[in-house]
């Protein structure tokens, strides 16, 4: 193997270890019990491969191999609700984002109209604003509106970040599509028909990426969730997990939670992946 080849292998190895090691670490942690985790040097493969943590975080007592009962986590209620709410919030945010942003980005990318530049700059400015900086103003507003601790409140805040960002991304993407509209106008298709049946089939990969981005953002959103819904029935998973950090620490249950948290986005990305295949950004007819 050439020197370059072995350098590449080393780089790849480092990259893989760097990315996977933390995940593998707590995957392993989630299957262990208390005693094992505190062992040093740490075992690579847990000796007692038990599912007690998983059962506990969902609120079940689990009978361990040696007869003792591993009791349900006090956080269990939050976790279950957190999972439900996260799914709801993420799906709703993704759907609303896509429904709003696809026509919006399309119009910005293809048409010219009065105030276009002004509106475009507003959207782009919204992308530039760090989400956290709007935290306090939003909270104050929400207290007055009674939206603190509600799912709709959280959804709205998530949308204020996903909509501008995804719009910005899709505008660039739509600009690169071939100018089919002219052809469609001459053939007599309405603008709506053109968007739905002629442009969207071409834009599948862009829309898929947009959906993944929106979903991931909503799912992982921590700061707003922590401030707005933590401890309430409207809590989401990231916020609920933070509850593990204060109490009687139980790392294996924390690890189990984290694992649960990773699974849905991974599934979403996995299923939408086939649309990412040909990011046909270049003109396909050239």
């Amino acid at each position: 193997m050439t020197k370059r080849g072995s350098n590449f292998t080393i780089a790849m190895a480092i990259l893989i270890v760097w990315s996977l090691l933390p995940i593998l670490w707590f995957v392993r942690m989630s299957f262990m019990n208390h005693a094992e985790i505190t062992q040093f040097p740490p075992h690579i493969i847990p000796e007692s491969f038990n599912l007690s943590s998983f059962a506990n975080i969902f609120g079940f007592n689990y009978k361990l191999g040696d007869g003792s009962i591993s009791s349900a986590s006090g956080q269990a209620g939050q976790i279950v609700r957190g999972l439900q709410n996260s799914v709801i919030v993420s799906v709703v945010v993704t759907l609303i984002t896509i429904v709003i942003v696809v026509p919006l980005a399309y119009v910005f990318s293809r048409l010219d109209f009065r105030f276009k530049n002004l509106l475009l700059n507003c959207v782009l400015l919204a992308v530039a604003i760090p989400p956290v900086s709007t935290l306090i103003p939003f909270y104050t507003m929400y207290v007055q509106l009674g939206l603190v601790g509600t799912l709709p409140g959280l959804i709205i805040i998530d949308l204020t970040t996903t909509v501008p960002f995804v719009t910005w991304m899709l505008i660039g993407y739509f600009r690169n599509l071939p100018p089919i509209e002219r052809l469609a106008r001459i053939d007599g298709f309405s603008r709506l028909h053109t968007l739905l049946f002629l442009i969207l089939p071409l834009a599948r990969s862009g829309v898929a990426v947009a959906a993944i981005i929106a979903f991931l953002f909503a799912w992982n959103e921590f700061t707003f969730a922590l401030v707005l819904v933590n401890g309430t029935p409207a809590t989401t998973l990231p916020a609920a997990i933070s509850g593990f950090l204060g109490q009687d620490p139980n790392p294996s249950q924390l690890a189990a939670c984290i694992l649960i948290t990773i699974i849905p986005p991974a599934l979403v990305a996995f299923f939408l992946q086939r649309h990412l295949g040909e990011m046909n950004l270049a003109d396909p007819v050239r």
Binding site: P178, I180, R182, L183, R185, D187, V285
Partner: protein, 352 residues
């Protein structure tokens, strides 16, 4: 089949004037070429004829019917674009079908038309392929089939051959003209290539910076150019332009003295235009010759072109026999043939 009239068409984008006041009449069944450099307004005009863009002022009439505000489909035009635009996710057959979607034809009629169009453009083997599976020439043929299947009032072609390689361009050139003549449909063809314009058009409309410079048959445009722009734009190699002075019925430029033969040019600065095939190459000190230094020599097989510098930074061209030999830096003389000279006033207009 339609006669198209453009009356006083003007198109502005904010303060940029793309098309000044344009009056154009396109005869039914003719192949009209709109020729001009980039930015002259020819594509804008084509888009206005199509209905993809609306004029800021003026009227467009199809067979006497005012269609200025009508969207493209109602005008029954078909358009072929430079980038051989097709719906990328549809097969050729579905692409061609899409043109007929909004017409009132029965299924059988549609199938018949599609089959006819495919046969005419030799696409039968490719009807079920996707655009990405075809070559550039095949795609352009498919786009053309898409256009003819509607039996439109008019074909509009926006530089359809520019993106193709040279050999393909040549063959498609004659195919397109042949097709148009067989179908008898009015066609408006936009190009910046003057060879295409000369070989394809029944008439050529030469445009520059939003203005119509001249409209006429290729013969008229070539032999009776209305302005300096038209004279230098058409013809390959381009016409030689020599600046000089008019005095008492004679044009003088250095040793060149040509009788104006009664042309109504006022005394003062003027330009002389003469095509490379109408000059003679002589030794540098011949009487009445412009002394030049050879800059380059291009061999075209059938003839050769000498490109020479006349000392003022102006390059003059002369067509010579293929056996002519000269080296870069040689001093030669160029004598314009008095009978084939054009004279232009300082404002660019030709004085006949």
């Amino acid at each position: 089949m339609a006669k198209i009239e453009l009356r006083q068409i003007r198109k502005t984008y904010d303060r940029y004037v793309a098309v000044e006041s344009l009056d154009l009449e396109i005869v039914d069944g003719e192949f009209l070429v709109m020729l001009g450099p980039s930015g002259c307004g020819k594509t804008t005009t084509l888009n206005m004829i199509a209905g993809l863009d609306y004029p800021s002022q003026g009227q467009i009439l199809f067979d006497g019917r005012d269609v200025t505000a009508e969207p493209p489909h109602g005008r029954n035009v078909a358009m072929v674009f430079q980038s051989s635009l097709l719906y990328p996710h549809l097969t050729v057959r579905r692409n061609i079908e899409a043109s007929l979607r909004h017409t009132n034809l029965s299924k059988a009629e549609r199938a018949q038309r599609i089959a006819d169009a495919a046969r005419m453009l030799e696409l039968d083997a490719m009807l079920d392929k996707l655009p990405s599976q075809m070559s550039g020439g095949q795609r352009q043929r498919a786009a053309t089939a898409k256009a003819i299947v509607r039996e439109p009032a008019c074909f509009l072609l926006d530089e359809p051959l520019s993106a193709l390689d040279a050999a393909l361009r040549l063959s498609l050139r004659s195919e397109l003209v042949n097709l148009q003549k067989r179908l008898g449909t009015t066609a408006v063809f936009v190009t910046h290539d003057q060879v295409e314009a000369m070989t394809m058009g029944d008439r050529i409309a030469v445009m520059s910076r939003g203005n119509l410079e001249q409209i006429g048959t290729p013969d008229e445009i070539y032999n009776q150019p209305a302005s300096l722009f038209v004279a230098t734009f058409l013809g390959s190699p381009p016409m030689n332009i020599i600046a000089g002075e008019v005095e008492t019925g004679m044009f003088n430029a250095g040793r060149v003295a040509i009788d104006l033969a009664g042309r109504a040019l006022p005394n003062g600065p003027a330009s002389l235009g003469v095509r490379p095939q109408h000059v003679t190459v002589t030794p540098a000190d011949a009487p009445g010759a412009i002394p030049v230094t050879v800059y380059a020599l291009e061999h075209l097989g059938r003839e050769s072109v000498i490109i020479a510098d006349d000392g003022t930074g102006n390059k003059l061209r002369a067509l010579v026999d293929p056996g002519f030999h000269a080296r870069i830096g040689d001093r030669l003389g160029i004598i314009p043939s008095a009978a084939s000279c054009f004279f232009f006033a300082p404002d660019g207009k030709r004085i006949p």
